[in-house]
């Protein structure tokens, strides 16, 4: 992997989506962010977003928040990679 691999990881970008109550509270439904070097899974990303403070901390600390990676349900230790679409949302209430 050498040089190319390292560069790709340093410049890794992900899209993060927020739905329903989260989208309204955070004031955004979507953002593209540079994947921080210390973020490799859902738990890390959530901690990174909580560190923004304010409403980010209030909303994303809620235990019921669910996550998906590339439109499949994910758990805290699910790995995040360059180009992934990550989503955070409250428990679902359809039907």
């Amino acid at each position: 992997m050498a040089r190319d691999g390292v560069e790709r990881i340093i410049n890794a970008m992900i899209t993060v989506l927020y739905f329903a109550r989260l989208r309204e509270a955070l004031g955004t439904g979507s953002e593209t962010i540079k994947l921080p070097a210390d973020v490799s899974n859902i738990d890390n990303l959530r901690a990174h977003l909580i560190a923004r403070g304010g409403v980010w901390a209030d909303e994303l600390q809620k235990t019921a928040i669910r996550a998906a990676i590339n439109q499949s349900m994910a758990s805290g230790d699910s790995a995040i990679a360059d180009g992934d679409e990550v989503a955070f949302f409250p428990p679902v209430t359809g039907g």
Partner: protein, 152 residues
């Protein structure tokens, strides 16, 4: 299988006729229609708005139908779920399952609905006299989905 997410209403008879068309092996058709109630958690509901996760919602329902096919003899299945603003008495969701026999059709239809309630990404926001509020997930829905783990 067919999965559709739409703002428009649906015609139950037409949907069932479409699913049955040309298949004389079908001996049973089970269907479920979810409807907007005019009251929730003790408060009158004027209207509600449904939001979904385009792409993931469709995929997750397809996956639920695939699981049902793995457990029961299902000939075909259809799910139509509405999004956008709905009012009391409006239809929200339709599940139709065709099978050779009623036992498989009933069970698969109920399974699909129970799993949809807890796994498909939709969110409801209600408008009441107290203002707008997001609907909280119900523990009873988790229990309804969980019991299928124990049943054959």
């Amino acid at each position: 299988m067919t999965v559709r997410i739409q703002t428009a209403d649906f015609d139950v008879s037409a949907e069932i006729a479409g699913l049955r068309r040309g298949n004389a092996k079908i001996g049973a058709v089970a269907s479920f229609v979810g409807v907007v109630r005019d009251v929730n958690d003790g408060d009158p509901v004027a209207e509600m708005t449904l939001e979904h996760y385009p792409g993931m919602t469709e995929h997750s329902i397809e996956e639920i139908i695939a699981q049902a096919r793995g457990r029961w003899q299902v000939i075909d299945a259809l799910v139509v779920h509405r999004i956008g603003t709905l009012r009391p008495a409006d239809q929200i969701v339709l599940v139709v399952v065709t099978s050779g026999h009623r036992g498989d059709a009933f069970a698969a239809c109920e399974f699909i609905m129970d799993y949809l309630k807890t796994r498909a990404p939709f969110w409801k926001k209600e408008s009441t006299a107290k203002g707008e509020r997001w609907v909280d997930a119900r523990a009873s829905d988790d229990v309804a989905a969980e019991r299928w783990r124990l049943k054959g």
